[in-house]
């Protein structure tokens, strides 16, 4: 049995009289690519913020990389990576400066940072633009750099919030090659996306509706269960059950 790196039980978040996340219970294994799907407003972002130790749950239990979500949020933050479409890199720093900056934030030593910077820049083919401001990079490059920085401290889990929004189809795939590679190295990938073809790349998927996890299975079994030809169809069938607006 593989190690469990995310475990939640009845995890709930209530804002006033609105239950954003309603008693979700699930487990994610080491090295798994776990897709976290749901319509806008289903509660994905709130759930993800709790899992990252950024928001204290109203009730329920969870451990992330073995740490308690109430008491050990600082340890959680050291053991995870995070990347979203909205926040990723500092645009007015260069590629190299960004790497060094985040290396420092993640607590790497100077020697480690120097080694990692070189390796990263080579691996991503960014040698010619190492001293270019990030604002001048094409979006696809930014996304790849941002992902590599999110995992440079070898976290147990990396959280990706719609990482490929607006990126061209070729770059989107190159980005997923990086995800596959990271998972292969044992990093657990927790990812949200609105692209249903990307949902197919995940080992398992959960689909949230109105704050609850409505379905959780492999893409293959979800399609079987909902008698659908594609994940698009599965999503449509499930998300349509939503009551709240």
């Amino acid at each position: 049995m593989d190690e469990i790196v995310i475990q939640t039980e009845g995890l709930t978040k209530i804002f006033g009289d609105f239950t954003a996340v309603d008693a979700i219970t699930f487990e994610v294994r080491k090295g798994e690519i776990f897709g976290f799907l749901g319509a806008n407003g289903a509660g994905k972002t709130t759930a993800m913020r709790m899992l990252c130790g950024l928001s204290i749950p109203t009730s329920g239990k969870a451990t992330i990389a073995g740490f308690d979500i109430y008491k050990e949020t600082e340890s959680i933050k050291k053991n995870i990576g995070y990347m979203s479409q909205k926040f990723s890199l500092y645009e007015d720093l260069t590629v190299l400066e960004n790497i060094r900056f985040f290396g420092g934030i993640y607590g790497l030593s100077n020697a480690e940072i120097t080694n990692k910077s070189e390796a990263l820049i080579q691996q991503l083919g960014l040698t010619t633009v190492a001293d270019t401001l990030v604002v001048d990079l094409p979006l696809g490059w930014k996304q790849k750099l941002s992902f590599s920085i999110a995992i440079m401290h070898q976290p147990k889990i990396v959280f990706l919030d719609e990482p490929t929004g607006g990126v061209d189809p070729l770059t989107r795939r190159q980005f997923w090659e990086l995800i596959y590679e990271a998972a292969h190295q044992g990093i657990t990938v927790f990812v949200t996306t609105h692209y249903m073809d990307e949902a197919e790349y995940c080992d398992r998927l959960s689909i949230m509706v109105d704050g609850k996890i409505k379905s959780l299975d492999t893409p293959h079994d979800l399609k079987k269960q909902y008698e659908a030809d594609s994940m698009d169809e599965v999503f449509y069938k499930i998300a349509r059950m939503a009551q709240r607006t």
Binding site: Q85, G165, D168, H194, D197, A239
Partner: protein, 302 residues
């Protein structure tokens, strides 16, 4: 008559070319899609056509008027929904709609038939401030506000970015109905599956148009032979395919797509044989249906 004509339009920002001699025509009553990723130049094109930005070169007409000389009549004849939510956040739903109707010297009543189908979904929240609406609701309100002066041409800049698949489908149903009312629609999107819903599309990348055609014809002229492969070990399958020369391969949903050049490419039997040698015993390869996304990927590679 053509609703929109763009002839070699150019836009540069601080020496960088954002729009590079882009030309296209949109017929009256058509849904025309500008399909491409962020940074392709879509927004600059929209802003030039809606007279909000001056081109550095080239010419464009909307409803027969020149975008530089005749900006006033154009502004009265087009509706524009920018990619970024641009309504007044601290006005209510109803106040926003009323405001935009007044600016264009009309009333909600006069053109209510155009927005009715969409506005009924917003009606329960008509006293809510726009800033407090959910993403899907904001988008519907923005569409209503862009329609309330009965525009001839509607410009929608990435109306569905970041929107979930269910709301995206609903949005495109609305566009179809607007088209039936005779409104010309120019819409941009990074989602390739939405391209198939347009009458004609322009694929755009790095400021240049790669191709303009109907979705059907674009797919028909793909050129290469396309296969889909599947195995229980997709990671190894994709990795092994990448190592092979003379074919192009990439993940495509639950399959790997393999694009083989009709003359120079190696045969599919050879591909299968080589994959078996890698230990992929359960591999299944069959002919695949070409999609717009396959076309775009092929063009990006060329």
């Amino acid at each position: 008559m053509e609703a929109v004509v763009a002839e070699n339009i150019i836009k540069t920002y601080q020496g960088k070319t954002a729009v590079n001699e882009v030309s296209f025509q949109v017929k009256e009553g058509e849904i025309f899609g500008l399909i491409g990723p962020d940074g392709a130049g879509k927004t600059s094109i929209f802003r030039i056509l809606t007279t909000l930005l001056l081109p550095d070169g080239g010419k464009a007409q909307v409803c027969g008027w020149d975008v530089v000389e005749d900006y006033e009549p154009i502004r009265n004849s087009v509706g524009y929904m920018p990619g970024k939510f641009s309504l007044y956040q601290d006005l209510t739903v109803e106040e926003n709609l009323h405001f935009f109707a007044t600016v264009f010297k009309t009333t909600i009543q006069e053109n209510y038939h155009l927005v009715r189908d969409i506005y009924v979904q917003l009606e329960p929240f008509k006293n809510r401030r726009a800033g407090k609406l959910s993403g899907g609701m904001k988008q519907k309100l923005a569409l209503c506000c862009a329609l309330i002066h009965k525009p001839k041409v509607l410009f929608l800049d990435e109306p569905t970015t970041g929107v979930d698949p269910v709301s995206r489908k609903e949005f495109w149903e609305m566009l179809k109905k607007l088209k039936e009312q005779g409104i010309t629609i120019v819409v941009s999107t990074p989602y390739m599956d939405e391209a198939a819903l347009c009458d004609r599309i322009a694929l755009i990348h790095s400021g240049s148009i790669l191709s303009i055609d109907t979705p059907e014809r674009l797919v028909d002229t793909y050129g290469n032979a396309l296969y889909q492969a599947k195995s229980s070990n997709m990671y190894l399958l994709l990795k092994s395919l990448k190592e092979m020369e003379n074919i192009n391969s990439y993940a495509f949903g639950e399959y790997a797509h393999i694009s083989v050049h009709n003359e120079n490419g190696i045969g599919v039997d050879e591909v299968t044989k080589r994959l078996r040698e890698k230990g992929l015993d359960d591999i299944r390869i069959e002919k695949a249906e070409v999609t717009i996304e396959d076309c775009f990927i092929k063009m990006l590679g060329e």
